[in-house]
Symmetry: D2
Subunit: 108 residues, 4 copies
């Protein structure tokens, strides 16, 4: 992998981890009913990162389009997480922002 | 699920199956070197269908965008498959076309 | 696919759908805190069914071992779902039981 | 995550990457017909690592059983890769071995 794509891949790894950790922590919050949107965003974003990681490593025919969607989904997940005060949400928001910027920069 | 989304889901199930079957059959062709692009398209499209099926069933926040990308990826996979004479490629092309049309109709 | 494996595949499709539907419905229950274990089981079982479907279609080297684990995971998901009175849990329990039986019969 | 599980997770990340890289490189070899078994093992092992990573991060009810199967699958993938002289196969064999040992140590 060239340097730029390597950076994208590492951001995807980091975002996948942050989203699944935030997902599990949200589910364990005292009142998970308030975290429904965050739980849905975290699962969607984690699965999208997996898909994008595979695309990057296997020379996927539509890699750029996959990275573009991953960039949009991680941006929307980051916005959702940012609106919650929990540490795991704030940490996830940060990982999502970095991931989104790198994916969109590569795709465009 | 409403009727339209149910139809989309069934087309995704069918496309996932056709792509993985075509993938395995391409790998077993006498000269898999000629089938590289088809193998890559099949794997990408199968994984995208899985992602879209999950999005449809779990009220995923970016479901429409996921279905749009799935519609584009299944269209490109269908075009690749259509260019090969093997029965498994022709069958896969047909499943991809239906899937693509239904995903794009829902997303737009 | 031979007849037995075709039956297994259809049970996996059905179980994947039921688990993701039960997952989403549990998350929407008035008090999702009571449904945490069911939400976790549904996600695990849905992802395991996806993995098993891919293994069945692509002649995966450890297909039998994958089906065995899928049979165990769908059994445990079915037991969790069975303990809740919601219609979606009862429907999911039924799909899980069928899936578990067919996977284990094939694997053993 | 505790220290042991953190080590398992990092080995899974490494193995996922190595398997997808080896997969793509095998497909690009001059004669991919000789690499069929390695291509199948790589895809199976990469997908199993994804599943195990998710299980580790989300407190999956059957995490230990998932890690046990992942340990067996990465062992069999490592053995397949070890039998080929290509650098990507040898590198993948090494990542698979480490992953297998850590998964099995945790699961048992």
């Amino acid at each position: 992998m060239n340097g730029h794509l390597e950076e994208v891949y590492e951001a995807l790894e980091d975002c996948l981890r942050a989203c699944n950790q935030c997902y599990e922590a949200c589910l364990n919050e005292e009142d998970p009913a308030h975290m429904r949107d965050c739980i849905r965003s975290d699962r969607e974003c984690a699965d999208m990162c997996e898909m994008a990681m595979k695309a990057v490593l296997t020379n996927s025919p539509n890699m750029k389009e996959i990275l573009r969607l991953c960039g949009e989904i991680s941006r929307s997940c980051g916005e959702e997480c940012e609106s919650h005060k929990h540490d795991h949400c704030q940490a996830c928001a940060e990982s999502c922002r970095t991931c989104s910027e790198l994916c969109l920069a590569y795709a465009n």
